[in-house]
């Protein structure tokens, strides 16, 4: 059984159909890259997988480990192992990062019937992960993403991914806004999480990220569909020739 199986997905936002029959299958252990022009629906897809309201699924289905993902609340999806690293992480003033991380981790554990982590155990784990990803402690002391630079926000997403250890990681343009060193650290963090029982969907515009996080499959999205799939060499092809050929195809 596939970890994630998307079949003929149709999605609307306020009367506009954005995804027009998208299909994608992701198995455990695989890394998939999704590329495609601005506005082709990549973030929409990632939001629908995570369960964001305001999207109306008008057709098709998404199965996660064979279960109907669309029937689940966003928090149930998270507890079952779905993680989205947002393209634009929000700032949450007044909510301390550590409180947020602990509440989230324990909510997921509780939903899975696991015991809650007590504060000392949590702190140890959080600081360990932060150190591995070069996230300064000072960042953890502030409000969630408050006053963080674009790159710092992205690092905070990777930190959460490493802390929650999800089975499906969707990374929506995690490379945008990261400087070269930060990109390498973040990519190392992602690679460290690669494992036979975890899958990654990496949304990006650039080959550079894929040099670090080498995908097993590359998909091209255009106008709300996957129009071409291939191996890692497809990304290089795109870098050379752009998306024009696929826009006609779509």
């Amino acid at each position: 059984m596939a970890l994630l199986e998307i079949k003929d997905l149709h999605v609307r936002v306020e009367d506009n159909e954005i995804l027009h029959g998208l299909s994608l299958t992701v198995n455990e252990g695989e890394v998939h890259a999704i590329m495609g022009p601005n506005g082709s629906g990549k973030s929409t897809l990632s939001h629908v997988i995570a369960g964001k309201p305001d999207y109306e699924v008008t057709g098709g289905q998404i199965l996660f480990n064979g279960e109907d993902l669309l029937a689940m609340q966003p928090d149930e999806r998270a507890a079952k192992g779905v993680f989205l690293a947002f393209q634009y992480p929000v700032e949450i003033p007044g909510v301390a990062t550590m409180t947020f991380l602990r509440t989230a981790l324990n909510a997921q554990r509780k939903a899975r019937g696991e015991s809650e982590l007590l504060t000392p155990a949590f702190l140890k784990k959080a600081y360990e992960v932060a150190a591995r990803l070069n996230v300064p402690r000072d960042m953890l002391k502030r409000g969630v993403n408050v006053g963080f630079s674009g790159g710092e926000k992205k690092r905070n997403e990777i930190l959460q991914m490493a802390l929650f250890e999800p089975s499906l990681c969707i990374l929506d343009e995690m490379d945008s806004g990261l400087d070269i060193d930060a990109l390498r650290v973040a990519a190392d963090g992602v690679n460290a999480l690669r494992s036979p029982d975890r899958a990654m969907v990496v949304i990006t515009h650039y080959q550079r990220l894929l040099n670090y996080v080498v995908p097993d499959f590359v998909h091209v999205m255009s106008k709300g569909r996957v129009v071409k799939s291939g191996g890692k060499e497809l990304a290089l092809e795109l870098e050379a020739s752009g998306y024009t050929q696929f826009e006609d195809a779509a």
Partner: protein
């Protein structure tokens, strides 16, 4: 319409209450005269209703369906119940002063070892001590507000705290109002805090009900004078029972370079109103008020503040945060007067309301009356729902809808709670907010 009927019945019941209570009310001579005058004023004014501007949003003719008779002096059983309540509302490191059903309870209070410069008496004692200079101060509030007048007429007891020049008792003073009455009843209390010059203290007031106590009505008033160069930190927590009624008034006067830091949180009571007049009477004085309403069900809570800048070079900051769920109703009225002499006044007021349901309501009425020309005054107000994109972010990380809301609500009220200087009391406010959030889940 039965509005008129309700008014007459409630009005009549209150008149009867005064007639019945009269013999029990402490104070003779001048005090008795003042009470009679106050009661006459109350009778003339009648229960406040929506056509009285200050009471526009809190129409007692419709909200106060009945007037209970004056609570009996607490008997052994009531004191026993109150004792239990004391145990569950104990705050570490404070000096506790307990009023049970409107009467000071010495056995539940800590009045020993007061130390230099701190004097605590009951209202009864002070009113029966005919030559006390404090009597005039205790009856200083005018009878122009019906509920203040009613309180002047009916106050049975309270605490009278005097802090001498230069004194600064380390322990916060905690005035704990406990309703413990076995039958529906009304309590009328009046307290006074007089801070000399260059003195300082922290005063906590909390309002709670003993286990099993349902309907009751609290009528409280507090008179405060803060001497030159003195600082008062004041925290109020309204955690009355869900059927309770709480009408409280405060009159605060600041001397030169005095500082008043105030925090009020209302999470209890069915209908409550806190009305305060704060007067910057001495140059260079500074006021910070922070209010939080946490309301659900059909609760109604009104905070009405009048900040009177009477002299130059004073600053005031008013922050108010309302969280309103279900069909609850939050009211904030903030009036700032800057008198002609009060040049260089710096007055700001900011209110924000968070509506958690479509039927929740928050009214906000700022009023600036500025008669001086060289001043900085401003106010701002926002009303809205929780930010959907923040909620989704939290839910995508595994928090349930209620948990996500709770975290955002805590952040929303946290800004006001932060203003509490004393760590223990800040934690106390945080846990009161947490209890409210947990009860919603």
């Amino acid at each position: 319409m039965n509005v008129v009927v309700a008014k007459t019945e409630t009005g009549r019941a209150l008149s009867d209450a005064f007639a019945v209570a009269r013999g029990r009310l402490p104070g003779t001579g001048q005090v008795a005269d003042r009470r009679r005058q106050a009661f006459e004023a109350y009778e003339r004014l009648g229960l406040p209703h929506r056509r009285i501007e200050e009471w526009k949003y809190t129409d007692l003719r419709t909200l106060m369906r009945e007037a209970f008779s004056l609570a009996a002096e607490p008997d052994a059983a009531a004191l026993e119940r109150a004792g239990e309540a004391v145990r569950s509302h104990t705050i570490d490191g404070v000096r506790r002063l307990v009023l049970v059903d409107g009467v000071f309870a010495p056995n539940l209070s800590q009045t020993d070892g007061l130390g230099q410069g701190l004097r605590i008496r009951t209202l009864q004692e002070v009113l029966e001590d005919a030559d006390s200079a404090l009597q005039a101060q205790l009856f200083a509030p005018e009878n122009s507000d019906a509920m203040v007048a009613l309180n002047s007429a009916m106050a049975t007891d309270g605490v009278v705290i005097e802090i001498a020049d230069g004194a600064a008792p380390k322990e916060p003073l905690h005035v704990l109002h406990i309703a413990s009455t076995a039958t529906p009843a009304a309590m009328f209390t009046r307290s006074l805090l007089r801070l000399g010059n260059n003195a300082g203290v922290t005063l906590v007031e909390s309002f709670v009900a003993a286990d099993g106590v349902k309907a009751y009505q609290v009528h409280d008033s507090l008179i405060v004078s803060i001497g030159d160069g003195s600082r008062l930190d004041h925290v109020r927590l309204i955690e009355d029972g869900r059927d309770a009624f709480n009408i409280s008034s405060a009159m605060v006067t600041l001397g030169a370079h005095a500082h008043f830091n105030f925090f009020n949180m209302t999470s209890g009571a069915s209908v409550s109103r806190y009305q305060a007049t704060i007067v910057c009477a001495g140059e260079g004085s500074r006021v910070e008020t922070n209010g939080v309403n946490l309301l659900n069900g059909r609760q109604h809570a009104d905070t009405t503040l009048l900040l009177d800048h009477a002299v130059p070079n004073c600053a005031s900051r008013e922050v108010f945060r309302a969280v309103v769920d279900d069909r609850a109703h939050s009211v904030f009225q903030g009036r700032i007067i800057v008198r002609p002499d009060a040049q260089k006044t710096d007055a700001k007021m900011m209110t924000r309301a968070l509506l958690l349901s479509d039927e929740a309501e928050a009214d906000n009425k700022p009023e600036l009356e500025i008669f001086a020309d060289d001043v900085t005054c401003g106010h701002g107000a926002t009303t809205g729902a929780l930010d959907e994109s923040l909620l989704f972010y939290l839910r995508a990380r595994g928090l349930s809808e209620k948990e996500a809301q709770a975290l955002l609500i805590q952040a929303f009220v946290g800004e006001a709670i932060e203003s509490i200087a004393n760590d223990t009391l800040r934690d106390l406010a945080v846990s009161a907010a947490q209890r409210w959030l947990e009860a919603r889940a």
